[in-house]
Amino acid sequence: MDSKLADTAGIAAAEEAPPPARAWPAIRRFFAAPSALVGALGLVAIIAVAVFAPLLAPQDPYDLMQLDIMDSRLPPGSESFAGLPYHLGTDGQGRDILSGIMYGLRTSLIVGLASAIVAALIGTTAGLMAAYLGGRAETAVMRLVDLQLSFPTILMALMVLAILGNGVANVVLAIIVAEWATYARTARGTALVEREKEYIEAARCLRIPGHRVLLRHMLPNCLAPIIVIATMQVARAIGLEATLSFLGLGASVTQPSLGMLIANGYQYLLSGLYWISFYPGIALLLTIVSINLVGDRLRDVLNPRRAR
């Protein structure tokens, strides 16, 4: 009798303390794949570089006073007029490429994060509301989602930029417009599965207010897939921003993103000055690959169907 009681108590204790018990194995499983470890380390390094750019960069590329036109178009490994090394060379205005990359990362990451987060918020809300409300509202939202998803993202972005004009803020807006539908579809999909379950029915019968059902029950269940999509979407947004900047539709010349840096080097490419475009491109590639590796692994770990 005593032992049975102890057993029950043990079970209860185990049930009360699930977060650390469940989170730790998930984290361990996440890092079990070497690719995830590489991706996570890379991502941490990239974010650190972006955050501490003012401390790490040899030069403030936005400060025109620090630029010396005499130093323009120097190959990697050259020294500045003042004797400082340019590890990755300089661009047409004598700007240090390495510093440009560090500062450019900031713009790219901010644009990527901001657009992915806002798109996730809008999309998830729309998807959840659609699933919860059902009926005409649902049909209307999902029709819009289907319509949007049948157009490629770049076309949606071009449409927004064509109407609103160029600029960083408009690029962010364009990416949001282009990407929110993906979240909406996912959120609705998972919420629909949840909606059919009995406890939602029970909650409704108990006249628990709608927003509580939504926030307490439906939202947590679609969080995992949304996080996975959002991770991947940050990479896509960074790539899209770079592309739009390259096309001359995006970031301002004074605060260049990686895409702008690459575009700046385009004109020098044909004369063989490869480093102006090459190194920012490598930085962009590493950023996107790191995020994708992390996202890939997140999907494997968070998806219960794939987990072993």
């Binding site: 049948s150 490629p152 071009l158 590639l285 996107i288």
Partner: protein, 324 residues
Amino acid sequence: MITTLIRRAIQAGFVIFAMTLIVFLGVNVIGNPVDILINPDLNQAERLRVIQNLGLDQPLWRQYLGFLHGLAQGNFGDSFVYGRPALQVIAERLPATLELALCAMVIAIVIGLPLGLYAGLYPERISSRLIMTGSILGFSLPTFWVGLMFILLFAVQLGWLPSNGRGETAEFLGAKWSFLTRDGLAHLVLPALNLALFKTSLILRLTRAGVQEVVLQDFVKFARAKGLRESRIVLVHILKNLMIPVITIIGLEFGSLIAFSVVTESIFGWPGMGKLIIDSINLLDRPVIVAYLMMMVVLFVSLNFVIDICYTLLDPRVRLDGKG
């Protein structure tokens, strides 16, 4: 079958109608219609006259009807830059873009499909893993940057291939094509490869996933039990089942290729619609922008429509559903 067709056609028509509304509202409400439709170089008196001519003093709904009327006749106004009807300017660029997109699609299929088939059939082999790693790279590499690196490597360093323009063209079916001349073909290689990069990875991964699903099916085992040769099992039994999803994707992605050719055309100076729209956005050539957007809308809606029909023709099971 016929009813499904008609229903789909009505849906497609509705979508196009909705998009005209969005573009019209975008241009006339969010943007300033005076800016968008009138050449900014005109003086005040001329402006007023043009505003009246264009009916911009009319109520919005009447303007919209006018917009639709022009649309039905393919009349988007004259390009500010070229001084000719916007649609005509775009139509002249269409063959170049189509040629580029088609070539990229062919490359993506010719490379992606066999590699995906191979990686799906023999997932354990090292070569398959290499293929899959390569495809991840294909997804992650920013297309425009790869384009630049192509130019750097093949045009600047090695000097093998040209990097700008269409080269020599030859006339065929009333349009100019690059692939008919040696020089044109050389100009086509780099842009087509560049545009194909992402789609190759996509087709490869989809094919592989499809193969891995199909090989587990009982009918593949039954085909083996019949004593069929492996080649027939792969090329007929497995491939034919794959064709449905793959063709759907190819169809859908063809539209996206045309959209993404914007980037490739800008890099390689390929004189297609994509380069035109970027130039037009930068030069504020609004009639061309509106015409391009509406053309894309029509293109994508019809593409989806055609894919639906192909899908029905390919999959005997869907055909039955359509009848019932």
